[in-house]
Amino acid sequence: MKSILGYLHSNVTPGEAGNLFWVAVYVVLVFAGVSIGVIFMNWFERKVMAHMQVRIGPMRVGPHGLLQPIADALKLIIKEDLMPANADKVVFWFAPVCVVMTAFCTFIVVPFGRTHAITDMNIGVLFMLGVSSLGVLGVIMAGWASNSHYPLMGSLRSGAQMVSYEVAMCMSVVSAVMMTSMATGTGTLSMIGIVQAQMQQRTWFAFSFFPVGLVALSVFSIAMVAETNRAPFDLPEAESELVAGFLTEYSGFRWSLFFLAEYTGMMAVSSIATTLWLGGWLRPFPNLLGGRNWDLAFSLVPGLTFLALAAFCFFFYRRMPQIRSMRASAIGLAAFGCVLGLLGIIMLLPGVRERVQDIYWFISKVGFFMYLYVWGRTTFPRYRFDQLMTIGWKVLFPISLAVVILTALIGVRQELFALVWR
């Protein structure tokens, strides 16, 4: 009991403190949070895509279609769970489990704040990249176990694609990891350490060694789209050629597990990008606009954002058509606005706002990448497979190599100059 309450005053993650109770609580919280994020992303993606395509998107289930993902999830769970007659039963069963497990495992090391991570590993980035690339195993298993042509083709493509983009991705990660050693002389792979290094060096790594960091970030953000099999690199599920790729034989709950894993994977790689280049949980300008007053001002932002969202809800509540069939969803929207407003007020409280703002900044940075995902998906048509490989090996890989070499050279520039002028 003492250790449970004692942790609340500590300043480390529960994993570091070795506090099993809080580790369990954090695991549940992260799992629930990520699942809610997936539900929200489903709605958000459909809505944003619809607006970009000059449509409205889901409108009927709940106010502005807010309950649509829940309705879809219910439908998928109720659906018959089909398994092809000649499928490899065990592998077919295990493939979605494998994909989901790897996708969620990556969140063990994601730092939502200095204390808001399940644990801090000294090999954090490596762990994340390693575990998330295990997901390809699940995809290949799914394709193989389905005992069907399209899934097999899809999973082969997926394997080739993920393996080849991993190279460029890891190279750009290496450049960011090298940047961590600039101030102290010793680099770190720990996710929390990387963010603290950015705090120490007074810059996000996206802007250090301009434009090297920015190029590394762009390489990573292209590679991560390919890595998660999203459009325009969604060749494994290219419906015009492969029906639905490795998902073809999956239906119902198993399919929804793949879906869950896909969105979780998107969030995981986005949080790598956020941690490595966009300063993780750090608020904008923590050094430049430092001091008491600025701290207070920035800590009010999360609460105010929620209040603004609540106001937005009430605005749309007023604009709802005044007809009987829309009555229930109008009231629902108002209730949702009330909940958001209440959350906003809670986040404005003195004790809470310091704790919450880390999570808020982290999530808003991840949300930026999520928006980029959706934006790219609506804008760009799908690449051909040879074009995909060309981009991966002939464009991104050399660029990322060059970025690594440049980072190293700029990092040791003083020593180099000393060597030359001696």
Binding site: H51, M52, V54, R55, S325, W375, T379
Partner: protein
Amino acid sequence: MTVIELVKKFFMVDLFKGLWVTFRHQNPADLVTEQYPMERPVISDRFRGQPRLIKDAAGRTICTACGACALACPEKLIKIGSLRDPETKKKVLTSFDFDMSRCMFCGLCEEACPTSSLKLSPEYELALYTREGMQLDRDKLENGIPRKEYEK
């Protein structure tokens, strides 16, 4: 390739142009879809939908049972029944059967009608549960197909 083109290609300007197009169109003012059961499309008066027999102001049919529409119909789906009124020596319409299931809405019957009593109205919601419902008799042609309004 000029230098400008090379620079444009290097910085992938066309990709960003595409991104800007999709970003711009998120403006809700650009919406072109309508929420169908709640918002109704505006249909032109010239739209050829459900056939109707027009009545005059007193509520009498203006069809003279001349049979021009039945002759004009390429599908021969109009059947007209008429009697000769012994007093006025005029033809009187007794029945008007229109098989809408075979109709292709060409509008030739409408054009052939000398009194403009047969009209293909802009009514467009013609889905039905049975084929028999497509057989329109005189009552349905004059007063419209009775339909149930569903909530939601």
